[in-house]
Amino acid sequence: MGDNISSSPLSDAGIWKAWSIVCIAEAGRQGFAPLGAAQVHVLLYLANTLASFFEVTRVRGRVLKRGAYPFYPEVQRELDRMAFSGALLIDRVDFGPRGHLAPHYSIGPVGEQICKSLLLHSEEAKRTSHLFAELIGACFGRFLESDAAIGPIDANYGNADVLEGEVVDFSEWQDENKNMQVARYLIEHLQSLRPDPRRDGVRLYCDYLDKALALQ
């Protein structure tokens, strides 16, 4: 049951770590590394939203609505742990004026090895890598490079019915996941028009986020 999975905060830690490595490795391949902690969290959130279109198993739907973008405290600790165990590197830390330390991660030598063996042995990992490749390609050069604060414009996170400090939960009830509805709509309509509807769908979706952010 989804309830039981989410009731143990770190039960998905392994998957999150794998996703983080695949994500940062893919960003590095596309020349977007290092990724700031905020960017990693937003990418993980969006990947989770679009997972089913790439036949990737969704991880968890519960996100605490707090701050300007989706943030998973347990994942942050795992990122830091991976950074000091050689899987990731901390290229720099923003000791920023906003009161938060913001490390920027790139893939480390151990991480490269882990990522390689994941892709070699797991079809699911390949699909996950594909998902992140499309997502990163669609986001960077656009909103994510300059602003990770998608909170206000995200259909789920920004939903006015969910108050600050409450949980955004769309994993158990797929029909309540508005992001997914939008993405499905776009992908289904693009299927007859474009050779790779998933890629175009993801791009179109990220365009929408970009435009929406610009409108704020």
Binding site: L64, R81, F84, S85, F95, L101
Partner: protein, 685 residues
Amino acid sequence: MINFPIYERITVSGYALYPGTPESVGLNHVFRPGVNVIVGINGLGKTTLLNILLRCLTGPTDVPQGEELGEKKRRLLPADRHWFRRRVPDDAVNASATAVFYVGEHLFEIKRSLANLDILSLSIDQQQVSLTKPQELEAAYQSQLIAASNLTSFDDFVFLLRYVVFFLEDRRSLVWDASAQGDILGILFAEQAANRRDYVEIFNELLSKDSEYRNMQAVVNKRRVEYAKQSSTIAGGQIEMLTQQLDSARDEVRQLGQRRGLLVDERDSLRNQIENRTRDIHDERASMANELNNFYESFFPKLGDAGRYLLSHFDVESGCLVCGNQSQEAIDRVNAKLTMNTCPVCESPIEHPDNPSHDPHAGEAIEAKRRNILKLEEQLQSMLGPLKKADEDYASTSAEYVAMTVKAASLEQQLNALGQSIPSAVERRDRVEQQLTTFEGALAQIEVERIALTEQFRGIAAAIDREVRSVSAQIEPAFARFISGFLAEDCRIEYTARQSRIGQRSATESFPFPHFIPALTSGVNRNSATPREAGQSVSESQKEFIDLAFRMALLEVAAPNQPAMLVLETPEASLDSVFVPRAADLLRRFAIRPGQGGNTRLIASSNVNREQMIPALFGAYQDQRFHGQVMDEPSQTTPPPIPPELRANHVLDLLKIAAPTRALERFRVPYEDERDRAIYPEQFP
């Protein structure tokens, strides 16, 4: 006073069994007062002739069949109309019997077809009844006969003939049949007319009510069983039970659902709080680490971003990012080294310990943050217990909810399966209930009617009992006198009204029915006469004579100053040598009466044999010495013998009249010789 039929003459013509003689065709016989003997041998038609005598009087009717009258309705049943036809080869198409008899002062002459017993002609007191249809003639005959005999119905007439007058081989027991006795005593001695008719009607009606009641009771019982079955199975109990169970299961599912919802809310809210606390702690630490940055920069000016990031995690007490150790001990160890101005990694002295720096432990703001983090962590810890409990509650409630949902679904399925049969089953049950009510009503109605009839019958039964009891003092000695002629045992009858119910139901009232109980001594029980109520406790021949003596006593008492008639079939059959003259003597005394009873007829059939019954009946018993030894009565009171020259008139000789059997054809001379020896013993000294 009842008038019995007294035969004057019988004529049978056209019946192959009795061709007659060339001088006189057919059978034509005049019965004389006193003894009349039908003489014959086996197969000559003695029994048939006696039956003709009976059927001429009764027509095609008879009393109910069977050993005993018992609980049968007191009404006549059709007799076998073709009994005579079957005994002759020509189907008796032209055969008829004409009976001439007196009933009281009225002379009846009735001619019946022997093919079907229809009345062909009827004259009463020599007046021809001018009707042609047999049914009309029968009706006229019966009504005239009832009037002449002083009886209330033709049924009573036939009952009397069957139970008193005719003592044939197929006779009915009277002494041993309590029901028949009660009826015959009622007919003979109770007040006639209305009472008797009511008696029979109410008696029959009570029997009908009894049988109706029992039939209805059976129907009611059957319906009750059916109703109970219908109610208890599908239509009633089971569905109701399932519905109740389903309702309660649904109720429970609803309650569990509500509880589950509440638990989900509670759990989610706890989880929410925990996540918020986690974020609070994270934010506090991040903010504190940021403030500590300057401190580390001054301590380790050459330290890169990652190193400072690592160290700041120690100071904000989130543990070691390298090995993942989060214990307070490890944190304290690293912090102690920093406090001692040594490198936490290689423990070398720090190069510029005197440089002014921001003491991370000095600032109020930082201390406040530390306290806040501590407080938040405590809160977080205290939330974990309730969350765990809420999780467990939720899990167990969910399990109950699922189990109850499954149960409700299964009940619903059972109900649906029964669903199709519910309406028809309920309808059937209601229909049975309705029928049951109707039948119970009918049952109550029958009972009400029965009680009303019982009231009427009780009066009549009591009156009859009184009347018969009043004549019992005459019947008892008459019986004692007659039976002594037939049996050596001391035998007597005693009047004891029999209390009996009408019908087979046990819960109804009983009534007194007139009844004489015979009592006799036997070889075993010589000193006292013991009551022999049941016929089987007496030998067959004893039974017959007790019955005959009882009939004779009844006839004598019922018609003391009037002629009577008794028809007997071979009375010698069950008697030994000693009792032949004794019985004959009694029968003669009965038949030959002085005064107004002088017209009495005794008609007896007898076989030609050496039993001496025929001469004894004529008063011509030859062995006077033996006769004197066996007789009780003084011989001077004995009626005089019939003179030999008149005897032929008292004999109906079937050897002459009947169609001869093989035996007769072959041994005619010795048979006729034997016959003459029997009728005229004086001529054969």
